[in-house]
């Protein structure tokens, strides 16, 4: 076999292995506008729904408003450099441009509401966010992931009615 073919095959195989099977540390962990640490907040006992309050009633879990962040951080470490960035956003009335970490393709109609109602823990899909400084995707959003859980929970597995319409 020619060495080129071998190299190409190896590289391609490595690419597939990395792409589909490995939870790479760089993957889907964007640098955010403010280096927000979920871990610090989680360790201080703040519940997910305190900030992501729309999850039980909407498709979208919701992001805390800038004012909500300020509600604590006017008092809590206001001089910390990252919190100073927050003050700049508020003072210039600019929404914080968070980068999206978790998403599903356009043809999947995911809705948080029934998952919260069924008692699914946030960590089931989002991974152990509470131990992450910078959020990254630990659980791959593959159809298999959804289906396995839907079957286990005896939830709808109807392709069209449940997800793809």
């Amino acid at each position: 076999m020619r060495p080129l073919a071998l190299i190409v095959a190896l590289l391609f195989g490595a690419f597939l292995w990395l792409y589909y099977l490995q939870d790479l540390p760089f993957r889907n962990a964007p640098q955010q506008a403010i280096s927000f640490s979920h871990q610090i907040h989680y360790e201080r006992g703040i519940q997910c729904a305190y900030c992501h309050m729309d999850a039980p009633r909407s498709t979208f879990a919701g992001m805390p408003s800038v004012l909500k962040c300020l509600g604590c951080h006017r008092i809590v470490i206001p001089q910390y450099p990252e919190i100073q960035k927050l003050h700049v956003y508020w003072n210039t009335q600019t929404p914080i441009p968070w980068k999206r970490v978790f998403w599903v393709p356009d043809y999947v109609r995911f809705n948080h509401q029934p998952h919260i109602a069924a008692g699914v823990q946030c960590q089931t899909c989002h991974g152990s966010i509470g131990s992450m400084d910078r959020v990254r995707q630990r659980v791959a959003f593959r159809m298999e992931t959804c289906i396995t859980c839907h079957r286990a929970m005896n939830a709808r597995t109807d392709c069209f009615g449940a997800c793809h319409h």
């Binding site: 800038v66 929404p95 392709c159 009615g161």
Partner: protein, 902 residues
């Protein structure tokens, strides 16, 4: 490793990295401060009022994350009671019209329009007002309430005459006749819902006449078997069968212009007086007239409506006066005709007043959402008149303006509008203004007196300036004007300019839904046309789609020909609303403006009449194919749209025996629909609602010519043939809305190689877009032809993409799609019920088509629930399944139309 090999290998690695890079994260922008009314991801709803026509229906606007995406009727509004017509549904397309003005514009010395900013625009406006010295004219759409007061106050302050509210459908004849018979020139309120018998001498009350949604709703209440066990009798007398006449029990194709004789004859029979002379001109047998008079007298209260736009002939005033007298003689005044409750249309200027104003050449003309030069192309406009337009988009009048100060769209504005005293409505902004526009109220700088608490408590009733007419029955019958009908000159044809429910007076032509959805009668999309009877066309040697030149004493128009049996052979019908020259990307280049054919001046009675000319027809040798989406009107024993009748053969109630069929085991629900053909008036509102809800693509004329239509619920029109021949005197027309039938034994499902079309556990024929590879086998195998294929990548020119419903996938090229019974609505109601742990009730889920249907012809629900409305209707003895003998077991039940009573 060779250098070449290294480059090849690194290219592969780069490709891998690029595929990762394709998934660049999007941004999530949080709110600055929390808004308790706003839950991101869930729609908000705002009540408002529709300003697409003067009917003033109540709206509920659905707003997804700051974008209005759909409008629905407000169930609490007295006019439309939760329903909306096609035009109302398109109002979101008006908001997101790609042709809207982005900022103020002014005309330069070289005649070009140039963008300016608001301070410059305001300075020019104020200097124009100062130099006009009171020679100011206001021509604007009908306003009531705050804006009306502000305009009047502003004009008074500048020593100018009161505003002329311009509506092309201004009911001049109706108002003059009420002046003569009832003593006040008003547009009255009609109460169809109280009538037991109904005659229309041309009023197209299911299409454009005064308040079409309200009248459609009321008409179905008295006329449909679904809503009344004893349907009222409806006789239509008009030279052409439009949507209104298509729902009639009896139809008289009286000679155009002789309607007044028939009204006088009915009056004579009812009051035992001698018949008018010249009855033979009507071409209607006397026994029919006597029978109709008898039916009117027996079924009281009754209601007689006068001429509409299409037969507003020189004798229309005589006809309307006779109609008023007939109503009075039958005791309808105060019952079904309310002459002491004026409609807001009463305040409109007459066409004659508008024509006179333009001829006076005021120094400053202010145009507010009015396009008189489209309807009256001969009107003079230009120097010395300085014209300021507050229009949102370019139109035929605004293109001659010197200064354009664009107003907000009505969905971006505060406002109020009351079509009548008991139906006041407040408009509220539903989004941040898209462009640098400014409300006209602010431009005028008027601060109208705020409403007092008392007024607010009365529901802003002061919005309509009540004419306070005390009804007095005419002591002596008002003298009918002495009219006579000249014989039609040889080789000439009476011009019937007919408006439609879709295009109204032409203002809807810039909405792609109004263009893409085929006209309910002709089934032609995207074009203006003229209509001739087959006999006439044959005699003149014209083929369908030939371009015919119509020549009136006042102008010519060239229009492609549509041949139809539903018009008198001595008439030529022309569609109102197309033929725009400068009204945006959807409206332009759709034939000639037919208003050039009309008489530009008022007639001897002082009124401008829409249908006062006869035209000659000339061949042009040209041909323009019309996009006709349904070329076959006969049922040819296919038993499609059925009516109750003893003569019509019943379709087999049980399907033929089959080896293959099995019933799907439904556990929770089986969604089903019932469509009442006796209620359906064919108005196409369901189609527009479906387009808005389901992100259906618009392909345009060339695709329509190839029959590549995308609508998920088409409304077909058929003539009844078996035992009920559709004669010219009595066309038997039936509308058949066809959504996906969601068959239990669906032909589409068996043939899909990728399992994209499959059966869900709730009875829907699912269509999984991401699995579809576009073989189109399903469409070939569907016997209802309801599956639609995306031949191209759909385009929504900015900012129309903001209208898209986020709950529905936007389909791509190469994907099959079809009606889903609004599965996104089903799912949301199911989820909400589960979250709140309450059972779902019948009626909780409304499909978009059902929600908007003005006559409640569509009922959606769960067939497994024996108490649901749809389950009861499925077992109704009028019910049948379309092609039920083909073993498809459809989930849609059609309810037969009532037998004709002609």
């Amino acid at each position: 490793m060779l250098r070449r090999d290294f480059i090849k290998a690194s290219t592969l690695a780069a490709a891998g990295a690029a595929s990762e890079a394709c998934r660049q994260p999007q941004q999530i922008l949080p709110l600055l401060a929390p808004d308790p009314r706003l839950i991101p991801g869930r729609p908000q709803f705002f009540a408002s009022v529709c300003r697409e026509c003067p009917a003033g229906c109540g709206l509920v606007v659905k707003v997804n994350d700051g974008r209005p995406t759909k409008v629905e009727g407000n169930p609490d509004h007295p006019v439309n009671q939760g329903k909306l017509c096609l035009r109302g549904q398109t109002s979101v397309q008006g908001l997101y019209n790609p042709d809207r003005f982005r900022q103020p514009m002014t005309r330069t010395a070289r005649g070009q329009l140039e963008a300016i900013d608001w301070p410059q625009g305001m300075a020019r406006f104020q200097s124009a007002v100062a130099t006009a010295q009171g020679s100011i004219a206001w021509v604007g759409r009908l306003e009531t309430g705050t804006l009306d007061r502000a305009i009047r106050a502003w004009l008074t302050r500048h020593q100018a005459p009161p505003p002329l509210y311009y509506e092309h459908f201004s009911y001049d004849t109706l108002r003059r006749s009420f002046q003569i018979t009832y003593g006040a020139p008003i547009v009255p309120i009609f109460r169809l819902d109280r009538a037991r018998s109904l005659i229309s001498f041309g009023a197209d009350f299911l299409e454009t006449y005064i308040s079409n949604v309200e009248y459609a709703h009321q008409f179905s209440d008295i006329h449909s078997l679904a809503h009344t066990p004893t349907p009222a009798y409806f006789l239509a007398v008009m030279p052409r069968v439009g949507l209104t006449a298509a729902s009639a029990d009896e139809y008289w194709p009286a000679r155009a212009g002789t309607e007044y004789l028939l009204a006088q004859a009915l009056l004579a029979v009812v009051t035992n007086r001698p018949l008018p002379a010249g009855m033979e001109q009507c071409e209607i047998p006397m026994d029919l007239i006597e029978r109709a008079a008898q039916r009117l007298a027996e079924n009281r209260p009754s209601l007689v409506l006068g001429p509409g736009y299409g037969n507003d002939s020189p004798t229309a005033l005589a006809c309307q006066i006779a109609v008023n007298q007939l109503n009075d003689a039958l005791g309808n005044t105060g019952q079904t005709v309310l002459p002491d409750v004026p409609h807001a249309l009463t305040q409109c200027a007459t066409q004659a007043e508008v024509i006179e104003l333009f001829e006076q050449r005021p120094r400053l003309l202010l145009l507010h959402h009015a396009n008189p030069l489209y309807h009256h192309p001969a009107l003079p406009l230009g120097a010395p008149t300085f014209t300021v337009s507050f229009a949102s988009t370019m139109d035929e009048t605004t293109q001659r303006a010197d200064l354009i100060l664009p107003d907000h769209d009505f969905l971006e504005s505060w406002g109020d509008y009351a079509p009548r005293a008991d139906a006041p409505g407040i408009l509220q902004p539903t989004r941040i203004p898209l462009y640098d526009t400014r409300p006209t109220l602010e431009v005028l700088g008027e601060k109208p007196a705020a409403y007092s608490d008392q007024e607010l408590q009365r529901g802003l009733a002061a919005g309509v300036q009540s004419a306070a007419v005390a009804h007095r029955a005419p002591a002596t019958p008002a003298v009918a004007p002495n009219v006579s009908l000249a014989p039609l000159p040889a080789g000439e044809y009476t011009l019937i300019p007919f408006p439609t429910v879709q295009l109204f007076d032409g203002r809807q032509a810039n909405r792609s839904w109004a263009q893409e959805i085929a006209d309910p009668m002709s089934k032609i999309a995207w074009d203006g046309y003229c209509e001739l009877h087959p006999e006439t066309a044959k005699r003149l040697g014209y083929e369908p789609n030939d371009v015919v030149r119509l020549r009136s004493p006042f102008g010519t128009a060239e229009l492609p020909l549509f041949v139809s049996t539903w018009i008198r052979p001595d008439c030529v019908g022309v569609l109102i609303g197309q033929g725009h020259s400068n009204y945006g990307m959807w409206a332009n280049e759709r034939g000639d403006n037919i208003h050039r054919l009309q008489n530009p001046a008022p007639l001897a009675d002082g009124l401008w009449h829409a249908a006062s000319v006869t035209v000659k027809l000339e061949s042009t040798g040209k041909n323009r194919p019309l996009a006709n989406l349904q070329t076959e009107r006969l049922q040819r024993d296919k038993r499609l749209a059925l009516a109750l009748s003893s003569k019509e053969p019943e379709p087999p109630t049980t399907p033929a025996a089959s080896f293959y069929h099995f019933h799907h085991p439904y556990v929770n629900h089986r969604w089903g629909m019932a469509i009442d053909l006796d209620s359906c008036i064919g108005c196409n509102a369901c189609q527009a609602a479906c387009y808005a809800e389901n992100n259906i693509a618009i392909w345009g004329r060339s695709s329509a010519l190839s029959h590549r239509e995308m609508t998920w619920i088409r409304v077909e029109i058929f003539e009844g043939d078996q035992g009920h021949p559709s004669t010219e005197l009595n066309p038997d027309l039936r509308f058949l809305p066809i959504p996906c039938q969601q068959c239990d034994n669906a032909p589409c499902e068996y043939v899909c190689p990728t399992f994209a079309a499959y059966h869900t556990d709730e009875g829907l024929n699912g269509q999984v877009y991401n699995r579809c590879v576009g073989t189109r086998y399903c469409s070939n195998n569907c016997i209802y032809k309801v599956r639609r294929f995306n031949w191209y990548t759909p385009q929504w020119p900015e900012p129309l993409n903001q209208q898209l419903n986020p709950d529905v996938t936007v389909r791509a090229k190469g994907v099959m799609e079809k009606c889903t019974f609004c599965v996104q609505r089903i799912t949301q109601v199911e989820l909400d019920a589960a979250t709140n742990q309450r059972p779902m009730r019948d009626g909780d889920i409304q499909t978009a088509c059902e929600q908007t249907c003005p006559t409640n012809a569509i009922v959606f629900g769960d067939l497994l629930d024996p108490a649901s409305r749809v389950a009861r209707l499925a077992a109704d003895n009028r019910g049948y399944g379309l092609f039920a003998d083909e073993n498809t077991y459809p989930a849609v039940t059609y309810l037969k139309k009532k037998a004709r009573r002609g």
